[in-house]
């Protein structure tokens, strides 16, 4: 086989994209962390950071081999890139003419965030040791093989179902795993009647912003080249997300009376999820339609957990699984070969018939079922042995303290700048004193209740 020349422009873009995709995981930590109680944010963020640590190493040991080694239809040759001691400086493929090392590092970031996404089902009560074991096992048994099915020449790839940047491999996969855990694990104390409101909405918006930014690497990087298709994917990512924000807010405004920042942030993530599998195959106007529909449906879907009684704390199912399904199926409806040519899918609305829709559904639901079942088995096995959640007493104490001996905030009077004094614009006692003429103010925090 003649050697493929490495393209430095494509390589540069994929390196940048890899860094962008990595940024999504700390972004996710903020997005999820803000939605927990103030005594659970560190545990939540730790699950994202530990995913980076764990999956990065597994990827070098055997993950890349299982996902992208020569496929037997279900998983790759585990020895092919084992420990990455081979010379991987040569080009990955003709379509992706970048060093194999670069392709491997780009795909590594996908594996990391997919594992981290699941943690949203465990908010405020995750036992850290249980999470570590689960993350290793789920990445090994579910993510690496499923990446092979979808992208690595496995059976879904061979069947002709498309998933440009991970609607099936990442979002449906993680969403189904989260559903599995939410079904079998202990619910949070008092859920659903207890107070589970997010403790820091600005943090959520910060996280959503970082995710949105990083997602350009996720989607436009998945072209594997810096070319026109990457540009289409980039544009579609932007407009679908914008439309989904509006879709979610319209539902909130009508149903609840007010549009919220949490809703806008959630709508953005739902839109990003839905456009992910389709971003290179649809026209911008199709992406906008997809975004609006997804924003609205996901806004309604997050309420299902109350009806069905599973405590998917941060709505991984309602946003990622539902959004991923809408995106994966949308390829069967609104994909056009305008950009990708014959190699791409043609949706029903563009004269492609129902065949593509059937393939999309088969791939999506197969991954959903596999991930759900394995997640339930793994979750039960770990919960019965070392435990996946802390006791309800420990949850009351605060999972940050119990699991990590850390706390995110200091609410004591001398250093805490929060509360009504902050609302009133008054500095804490240790701050700069007011002008001499002004009356002295006490910084005593009185916890008595007035009225």
């Amino acid at each position: 086989m003649p050697e493929i020349a490495i393209d430095s422009g494509h390589t540069a873009w994929l390196l940048v994209s890899s860094a962008l995709v990595l940024l999504m995981t700390p972004g996710l930590a903020f997005f999820y962390g803000g939605m927990t109680k103030s005594k659970g944010i560190l545990n939540m963020m730790m699950m994202s950071f530990s995913s980076i640590a764990i999956v990065s190493l597994l990827w070098v040991f055997y993950g890349f081999s299982v996902a992208f080694g020569a496929s037997n239809g279900f998983f790759g040759d585990i020895t092919q890139y084992a420990f990455m001691t081979q010379d991987l400086t040569g080009a990955w493929s003709e379509a992706v003419p970048v060093p194999t090392f670069v392709f491997a590092v780009f795909q590594m970031m996908f594996a990391i965030i997919t594992v981290a996404l699941i943690s949203g089902a465990l908010a405020d009560r995750a036992k850290f040791a249980g999470w570590i074991v689960y993350a290793v096992a789920w990445a090994t048994i579910v993510y690496f093989p499923v990446a092979n099915w979808v992208w690595g020449g496995g059976w879904i790839f061979e069947m002709g179902a498309f998933d440009f940047a991970g609607g099936t491999a990442v979002h449906i996969n993680a969403g189904a795993a989260a559903l599995g855990l939410a079904i079998i694990l202990r619910k949070r104390n008092g859920w659903p009647s207890g107070a589970y409101k997010p403790h820091n909405v600005p943090t959520i918006a910060l996280g959503a912003g970082l995710l949105w930014f990083g997602w350009f690497g996720f989607n436009a990087g998945s072209e594997g080249a810096a070319d026109a298709i990457a540009g289409v994917a980039f544009l579609n990512t932007q407009v679908a997300t914008a439309a989904a924000v509006i879709g979610w807010l319209v539902v909130e405004w009508i149903r609840d009376g007010k549009p919220t920042l949490l809703g806008a942030s959630s709508g953005a993530i739902a839109g990003l999820v839905a456009i992910t599998p389709a971003c290179a195959y649809v026209e911008p106007i199709g992406a906008i339609g997809l975004g609006i529909v997804t924003g609205a449906i996901c806004a309604l879907a997050v309420g299902l957990k109350y009806k069905l009684g599973f405590d998917d704390s941060l709505d991984v199912v309602g946003v990622h699984m539902v959004g991923g399904l809408i995106g994966a199926l949308s390829i069967g409806l609104i994909a056009t070969q305008k950009f990708y040519g014959e190699a791409g899918p043609q949706g029903l609305f563009y004269g492609g018939g129902v065949e593509q829709l059937g393939k999309q559904a088969a791939g999506a639901f197969a991954v959903l079922a596999y991930s759900l079942i394995i997640s339930i088995v793994l979750g039960l096995a770990i919960d019965k042995t070392i435990g996946m959640t802390v006791s309800s007493e420990a949850e009351t104490e605060g999972v940050d303290q119990v699991e990590h001996a850390e706390s995110a905030y200091d609410f004591s009077a001398p250093t805490g700048g929060g509360g009504a004094f902050a609302l009133a614009g008054i500095a804490p006692a240790s701050g700069t004193p007011a002008a001499p003429a002004a009356p002295a103010t006490s910084a005593t925090v009185d916890e008595k209740v007035a009225g």
């Binding site: 009376g257 809703g263 509360g419 009504a420 004094f421 609302l423 009133a424 002004a438 209740v449």
Partner: protein
Amino acid sequence: MKLVTAVIKPYQLDAVKEALHALGVAGLTVSEVQGYGRQKGHTEVYRGAEYTVEFLPKIRVEVLTDEIDVEKVVDAVVTAARTGKIGDGKVWVTSVDDVIRVRTGERGLDAL
């Protein structure tokens, strides 16, 4: 002598402080409190789920004054703290038997 106690909205504290300062009030004590009145807190909606927040953050302002000035002080606080919306708070006046300045031992009106 009288003690004027006001529970007000946090955002109104600066206005109350300025009004009292303009009256020549020499000192006041401020503390953070939480509570609710007739409106029983408020409702917040997150992703469609409603949460009732009962205990709202408030500021308690306490001013010692002589009996002659008490109406002026009450008026100043009420006027400055008023937004016209629900939850503006309450002001009450209690009698004080004696006041002692810690530094000098002065008592009564001299200690104000």
